[in-house]
């Protein structure tokens, strides 16, 4: 990967994380889950590998991203805004009743392909779109981002059976493997490992990468590009709350609603300063 692009993506990911933290007040958002997938979302939109960006928004041959783990939508909003799908200023409308920027994706927001929030839905919706693309001979890809906790849902595996049967090699599942469910570690509640074996058993070509390392993400997607005849999965090992040590790998920092002062301290921490002094207690919804 080009070194400049790599540096640009790192800078973009930092700004995206800052936006996520700014959305973590005044009602809050799913901060921990958003921070874990920020680098993945940035890679998808900014690596140049996929036909994604404001220029392609109405292009029928664009690649498409479906955010099935919808609660990490601040990472998507922030990336879309930074890339010009809509003005960055609009992020201040987060949770405003007259806008559509709420805790889960709404496809009325430019760049958002479909509604989500209920887990285990968008693999099938993505499969429908992938089938359509095949039918019309398009070379575009459908990328469905799923959370690891979301893999508890049977509909994910049901969809994989069908996707494999129809040899949907334009369908790529991206697993944000931050190893947490809403309230606890996945391996403490519903263990998922060996996760690669499970995806392989359902007919996918699987790679596993560090979901915070753009070079490794690039390696994984390069390998997937060569595969034909079956759906693909890229398991991205990530860290909940990545980038902000005070929030990292914390079961109680999934959904966060900090004070404005705490957010400023967390942004300083993101930039390498001392840990924020957090008084707001952990707020686990669900």
């Amino acid at each position: 990967m080009d070194e400049h692009r790599h540096l640009d993506m790192q800078a973009l990911a930092l700004r995206v994380r800052e936006h996520i933290l700014r959305m973590s007040t005044g009602g809050g958002c799913f901060t921990g889950a958003s921070l874990s997938c920020a680098d993945i979302i940035v890679y998808l939109y900014a690596s140049g590998r996929f036909r994604l960006g404001p220029a392609y928004i109405n292009d029928p041959d664009r690649d498409r991203v479906f955010l099935s783990k919808g609660h990490d939508v601040p990472a998507l909003y922030a990336t879309l805004a930074e890339l010009g799908f809509f003005p960055v200023e609009r992020l201040k409308n987060h949770l405003h009743p007259l806008d559509h920027l709420y805790w889960h994706p709404n496809r009325q927001v430019p760049g958002v392909e479909f509604f989500s929030g209920s887990l285990g839905h968008l693999p099938a919706v993505g499969l429908g779109v992938a089938y359509h693309l095949k039918l019309k001979g398009s070379k575009s890809h459908v990328i469905v981002v799923v959370g690891d906790g979301e893999l508890n849902e049977g509909s994910v595996w049901e969809c994989l059976l069908v996707a494999s049967a129809y040899r949907m090699d334009n369908l790529i599942f991206v697993v944000d493997r931050n190893a947490f469910q809403a309230n606890m570690r996945t391996e403490e509640l519903i263990p998922l490992e060996p996760l690669e074996d499970k995806w392989k058993a359902f007919g996918c070509h699987v790679v596993r990468v560090n979901g915070h390392d753009f070079t490794d993400l690039d390696r994984g997607f390069s390998e997937l590009e060569k595969v034909t005849g079956r759906p693909k999965a890229i398991i991205c090992d990530t860290v909940r709350g990545k980038g902000v040590p005070s929030l990292q790998e914390r079961a109680d920092r999934w959904f966060c609603n900090f004070t404005a002062e705490e957010v400023e301290d967390l942004i300083k921490e993101l930039r390498g300063h001392a840990a924020a002094q957090l008084r707001t207690p952990g707020d686990v919804v669900r």
Binding site: R107, E113, F114, F115, G117, S118, G120, H121, L122, P123, A124, V125, G126, L127, G128, V129, A130, Y131, H132, L133, L135, S155, E158, C159, L161, V162, A165, Y166
Partner: protein
Amino acid sequence: MTYEKVLEQYCQRHLEAIVLTAENRALIRNLPFALGPRFIDTGITEQTMVGMAAGLATQGHKVICHALATFLTMRAFEFIRTDVGIAGLPVKFTGYIPGLLSEANGPTHQALEDMALMLGIPEMEVYCPADLEDMLLMCEAVWNSPKPSYLRAVHLPSGLSHVTYQYGKAEWILQNSGGVTFLVAGFLLGEVLKAADILGRKGISCSVVNMRSLRPLDEGTVEKAFRQSDMVVAVEDHFRYGGLYTVLSHWLTEHSRRLDGDPQYWAPLFSMSLEGKWFTPTLLPQVLERERLGAIYLVERVEQFLAKKSHRQAGIPQKR
């Protein structure tokens, strides 16, 4: 003509149409050969089929989905509500063997709350043809509507000659003044017509309406029935709650309030339906017998209603 042929011809005229099934091919066995890749069988995966249909619909396809009525509307309910309903996509569902038509399959297969569930989704249209001939007449309009829809399939022919389907319009099969008006959702129409014949010979005037759909609701027909009859009977092979009887009760309540102070006359409403329990699994003639929904029982129950009518009218403005 068959459902399969009507659908095939529709797909020939509408190249954006795609047919999906969750391995329920009873009505569409030959379509894979006719439609090629525009026919998708997802296997026994109602949720995936519905999600996939939503995805296809976002790309401009008219998607017509098939599955057993119970598994389609219940197992995949949240997918219908969330992926199709919230997005308002024109996905068309056909539910096979709804209501009593599941015969001896047992309660797992008895879709007796399917219309209630589908009516609970805003904008979802709910069609309840009386027989195969009726269903074939309405398919084109159902699939052309820009809204999502649920078609309660009836695969049994009746030999009845129906009037051409007009979107949102019910069909008056028998029209007499006063007496009893049967408003019917679904295949019990055949039993109702037999009952009306018996009642007529006993001197009780009857009208019979094939409702054809609960949403859109033919309000003009409903109003006429309540204004011009001595008694209205809602007949449906559905639980009493959530189907035609509920829709009519709701309509009455809304209209009574709107006409507050205006002494209008509304005929009392009675229900013939499944009353809070699943039915005994057996063959259809025995089901009608056991559940007291065959013609003879309908007659008996109308006579009972007529006897009780004065008590049941409490709270409803009376005829002057």
